[in-house]
Each structure stands twice: as structure tokens, then as C-alpha cells.
Amino acid sequence: MTGRRTAYTNVRLLDPASGLDARGALLTEGDAIAELGPRLFAGGMPSGIDEVVDGHGLALAPGLIDMHASLREPGFEHQETIATAARAAAAGGVTTIVATPDTDPAIDNVALVEFVARRARETAAVRILPMGCTTTGRDGERMTEMGLMAEAGAVAFTDGDRPVADALVMRRALSYATAFDLLIVQHVEEPSLVRDGAMNEGEVAMRLGLPGMPAAAETIMVERDLRLVALTGGRWHAASLSTAAAIDAVRQAKRSGLSISCGAAPHNFALNDGDVGEYRTFAKVRPPLRGEADRQAVVAGIADGTIDVIASRHAPRDAESKRLPFVQAAFGAVALETMLPLALGLWQAGNVPLLRVLETMTAGPARILKLPQGRLAAGAPADLILVDLEAPWRVDERRLRSKSKNTPYEGRLVQGRVERTVVAGRTVYDRTAEETRHA
């Protein structure tokens, strides 16, 4: 079986799964990686190559897997669609989106999983992997048909940004999921402690007169769930951790051998609650922007591997739901196009090694979700990104491809730019070509 053969030459190969960081080349054939290495094509370009992409020394890495993005279709197509999210993803270097089921209707049965899969096939330039709901209609009470949804393609189960609050429901979901080795993803927040909270509880909230979301709400839910994981043997993933105490709790629990993992959202290491400033609703996100000590704990957790995954928590919201008094405004920020440069910022600042940064968005989520992509290896899917690791650019909401423009990073100077994104051997984004077209 042969397909179109594309050679990527003169690149810096970066593969977190194998630890490879070397100059070299890579060959794709059809939708898979055929060969790669420092000495590939050392003896000259063989015949039968359809296209040669000269990387000019840029980094070639596995395409990113974003483990937590809200795509808004079906139900909120005025905010985002699978197609617009996929375009944003491609420009941001994300080749696989793991979509949350917080749509309307919520993705809580086989037909809806199939709907998302079909819309993705028809409209999306990148891979879309749906998550199913843990409970029906995200009501926190009745378990969904997780087994059947998994057969239909759901890769994990979550109620999105609603935690499964009832301990017994969570216990049973974790327990039932073990029969099929399914992953339960939890938004870790004890809702009764948060109620109408609008931002991190602390000095800033006190000055602004806003109801707070205490850090302890996250720790309590993490610690409760860890007990339930121990009780059931379930596979559990915390969608995003934002507090030092919760990260510590996971760090300890990992030593005891539980099947647990966790993520962090870029906004929780790139911003702190001071960025709410004078009621900036674009800084109203979940988990909330925390204090500086917690932000630093997230960075440390990424560096030492306690945090397995950086996931965008992409949450498109239209202007109308953000141009409101802070307590009334919607939570969420668009994040697909800014995840990579913000994550690379951890490396540029000297806080996290480059391969470790990339691992959290490639091999890390691939391991947890048992996906074949997310690595540079012969036979692996040809999902690739060509990245200028140093190139600076300024975030400009008018240039975001997401349908919604709710970015908290407007005007921020970031470093690291995607030059080309390849999904299954096909180029789905080429910056130079796009900019020529728009010029």
C-alpha cells in the first residue's frame, strides 16, 4: 500500500516520546510516517518523492493533541462550529481535538457521538475525538451508556465544566468504567463551595467586591475523587488543576500507583488573578485565574511531570455573553491558537525543558487516551507541525480563526509560531500560503 510521499528535510526533529532532538529529515507516505532520522536522505534524495518540504532548520514535532476543548456544535453554532474550531486548531498546531460534550444537546448517547464524528469527517480539517457525558444531560445523577458510546468512538467521559458532584454517582461511574477500561475526566471543583463565585477568592476578589471561588474547592474535589479512585480502581483524569494544594495531592497519590493523571490550562500558568484588573470579563475562566503562588505551582507541576497534559480548555463565547457585569458574564476563553506559544513560554523562560513542554501536548495525552498519534515514529500517523520556536508575534483578536474572539491575551507578545500543520500526511495549514492569500 503506497500513498503520496512527502519529504521534510533540513528540520530539527523533536519527539518527546523517544527523547529525540536532532537535525534530520522525515518521510511520510500516505497518512503515516515512513521513516525519519538524522541520517535520512544523507546519501541524497531518492526517487519517487512527490513533494519536498525544506524546513530551513525549523522544528518538526508531532501535531498537538488538545485534550479539552469546547467546540459549541451542536447548539451554540453562533459561538463556534466544528469547522471553525478545526481551522483555529490547524493554525495553532493542534491536529487532534478532544471535544467536550457540553453542547446542546449534550453528547450523552450513541447517536450524538456519531453526529459529532460525522460533522467532523464532513467539515473538520483536523481530527476530532468526542468525549461523551458521564451522566445523562450532564445532570450529575444518571450514568450514560458509556460502553456503547465508547464503541461509537467516544474516547473519554466527562460532564465538561460541571463536576460530578454526588460522590455515589462518581463512585459508580468510575467503577462501571473499569469494565471497559474507560477514562473519566473530571472538572475538579466542589460546587457547593463555589456557588455563584466569579473569580478566585482572595485579595483581588475582595477589592472588586466579587464572590470568590476558593482554592480549597479544587483540593476537596481532587481529594474526594482520589479516594473514590482508590475504592474503585477506576481511571481518572483531572481536566485542569490550578492550585498548589491540589497539585500536591495528585503528586502524592501518583506515588501510590493509582491510575490517575491531570491537566493544566494555559491560562493557569500564563496569567494570575491580578489579570482580572478592573473587571475584565475575558479573564473570567474555569478554573479561575489564581494567585501568583498557585500559578507558580502549576509551572512546577508541569516541570516535574505531576501535570501530564497541557490542554487548552478552549471555550468560545460571543461578545454578548462577555459584555456584561462580571458576575453575569460567561466563563471561558478561546485558546486553540494561543496554547502552543504560551506553553513554549515556559521553555523560553527557562522553567520547563523543551521536550517536556511538547510532551504535555503530544505523547502525554496520547498515552492517557491510548492514541497512536502524538509521536514521530515509523508507522505512526503523519500528524506533524513545523514550528518556528522563536518567532515573535502579537495576539490580535481580529486574526483569530475562532468564531468567537474572547481571548484574554489580546495584544500580548508571544513566541513560537506554527508554519505548517499536517494531518494524516496532508497539509491543513501553511502560514506562508495563507498570508499570501490574505495579503
Binding site: 482572595g202 475582595m206 467586591g209 456584561l324 457585569p325 458576575v327 453575569q328
Partner: protein, 320 residues
């Protein structure tokens, strides 16, 4: 008293006390002092604001604050319009900013706005061309209340610098407390906050105040005792066990007041819950209570804010 110079107030709107300089606060208070004299004459009417339109836009019920602003505008000769936007408009789907833009099209020179959400008045101010006065936003700020409190204190004590002021009650939800803390700190007074921990988190110390959960200790030696209004819905077991228990430990009565400075004054932003946060005996003590005076100062302070924000200062302000 230093003579205020026009143009020293460096803000288009009055959204909060935080961010005002001591000089700006002094300018507002000195101007208000002049208004007090005007208001005590038989003919109270002036015409500095003639031809200007003032809209009082209230998204939350308030009789006294709205009346006070209305009177202030009318005494200065402005055309004053009151608009109560209760839940009906919000239910119709009109957002705060829609309302702001509709009103802005009517070219008001001053918008006085109260809203139940913190930050809502700031948001609205970004969208209008006239000057905006915050008449209370959620639990954030109520700057004219702090100014009228300061004016009341200054007229009685002759100064703010060095005074010891106790603010007692629901700090957590109080815009009055926040504005007063910023103002009193800026003017060199010392502030103590007194309340049970559910209404007064420890982090309040970061505002530069002393926190007390024991009212008796907190009141010791205070020159001014400011009581805050406690909302009924917060007393039914959510933040506090009961009205009775609250009054026992945190209600101001003659016995607790005796622990303050012998010449201490009592203040309350109103409306009072008698028997909940304050006992009638002390509230009505004409030698100690400044509560009626606060209402009088309220009109003067609001006149001063209107004059300064519209740039139409009276001529005699500086001479006083």
C-alpha cells in the same frame, strides 16, 4: 483649609474612591462644605448646572440615595430625570450596555448609576460620553457615601487625620465599607473592621485595616463608630445564625458604645435595622448620633460631585 483650585480633579467620572488622591478628596469635601451653607439658606436654588441634564439610572431600589441625587441636581439648576430599571427591562432582553447606549443618545451631561453587580457602573461608563457618578455598584464601591461620611466627620472633629474609626457589620457585601476604607486610609485615619468571620475574611487586613471579631475589643478607644446595614436575607442561618445572636454580639448598644472614646460619634448609612445592628437608644441619642447629619451632608456632597465633574464650580468655593 486649603483653597481648592478648579481643574485639580483629574477624572472624567467618579467611579470609586480607590484611585483618588488626598488632594482630590479634599477638593470634593471643600466644595461640599460650601454647598452645606447654600442648603441652609431659605433660597437653596443655584443655577450653575442650568441647561445640563442629569439622569439618575437605578437598577436597584433606593429611595434615599436617589432622592439625594435628585435634590442635589435640582438645587444646582440641572434638569433631572429619574429612571428605575427594574427587572422588567432585563427580562425583555435589554442588556446594561443597550440601556447605556439608548440613554447616551439622549446626551445626558451626568449619569448617576446604581447597579446590583460589582463593576457594572465602570462597564457602563466606558460606553457613554457624559460624566458618570457611581451611586453604588454591587459590593464594590459607593463613593458619595464615603465622601458624605468624611464630610460629616470632618465638620464635627475638624479633621480626619489621626482619627480611629471602627466600621462594624457586613464588610463582605458592603460597598460602603470599601469606599470608606479607601477614603479614610488616604486621609490618614486609622480603620478597624469589626464583624463575625463569615462577613469579614482575614484577608481584609490587606486593605490596611485592623480586623476584629470581638466587638468589645474593637471599639476600645474609637473616635467614630460606623455601623453597616445588615441585609435580612443574610441572617437566616446562611452567614449568621440569627438576628438575636447577631445583636447580642455585634449590635451597637449603650453598653458596648461605652467602650469607645467618651466623645465617640455614631454613624449609619441607613436605612437602619433597629434592634439588629443598632439599638434605638444610641441611634436616637442626639449627642452621639450623626445619622441625620449624614443625610444632610449627602445632598451637599452630591452637589459638589456634580459641580466638579461638569466643570461648573461655584465662584465662592475657593474663598471659603
Amino acid at each position: 483649609m486649603t483653597s481648592p483650585l478648579p481643574g485639580r480633579f483629574g477624572h472624567k467620572h467618579l467611579l470609586g474612591i480607590e484611585g483618588l488622591s488626598p488632594d482630590e478628596i479634599t477638593l470634593l469635601l471643600n466644595t461640599a462644605d460650601a454647598c452645606v451653607e447654600q442648603n441652609r439658606r431659605v433660597d437653596k436654588k443655584q443655577s450653575h448646572l442650568r441647561g445640563l441634564t442629569q439622569i439618575n439610572l437605578f437598577f436597584e431600589d433606593s429611595t434615599r440615595t436617589r432622592t439625594s441625587f435628585e435634590l442635589a441636581g435640582k438645587r444646582l439648576g440641572a434638569d433631572v430625570i429619574n429612571m428605575s430599571v427594574q427587572h422588567s427591562s432585563i427580562k425583555k432582553g435589554e442588556t446594561l450596555l443597550d440601556t447605556a447606549m439608548t440613554l447616551n443618545a439622549m446626551s445626558p451631561d451626568v449619569l448617576v448609576v446604581r447597579h446590583p453587580n460589582s463593576g457594572a457602573v465602570q462597564l457602563l461608563a466606558q460606553k457613554v460620553t457624559g460624566a458618570v457618578i457611581n451611586a453604588g455598584d454591587g459590593s464594590h464601591e459607593h463613593p458619595t457615601q464615603a465622601l458624605l461620611d468624611a464630610l460629616t466627620i470632618r465638620r464635627r472633629k475638624g479633621r480626619l487625620q489621626g482619627l480611629l474609626v471602627a466600621i462594624c457589620g457586613d464588610f463582605l457585601h458592603s460597598r460602603v465599607a470599601r469606599s470608606n476604607i479607601y477614603l479614610l486610609n488616604a486621609m490618614g485615619a486609622r480603620v478597624r473592621l469589626i464583624a463575625p468571620p463569615t462577613l469579614l475574611p482575614r484577608e481584609a487586613e490587606r486593605l490596611g485595616v485592623e480586623v476584629f471579631h470581638d466587638m468589645r475589643r474593637g471599639l476600645a478607644g474609637c473616635d467614630i463608630v460606623m455601623m453597616l446595614r445588615l441585609q435580612q436575607e443574610r441572617m437566616q442561618g446562611a452567614f449568621l445564625p440569627s438576628t438575636r445572636e447577631y445583636f447580642h454580639f455585634y449590635g451597637l448598644d449603650a453598653e458596648k458604645l461605652a467602650l469607645a472614646h467618651p466623645e465617640a460619634f455614631i454613624m449609619h448609612p441607613g436605612p437602619m435595622n433597629r434592634g439588629v445592628e443598632i439599638d434605638s437608644e444610641v441611634a436616637d441619642d442626639i449627642h452621639r448620633s450623626l445619622i441625620a447629619e449624614q443625610v444632610e451632608m449627602g445632598v451637599a456632597v452630591r452637589m459638589a460631585c456634580l459641580e466638579i465633574l461638569t466643570g461648573r464650580l461655584r465662584n465662592d468655593t475657593g474663598a471659603r
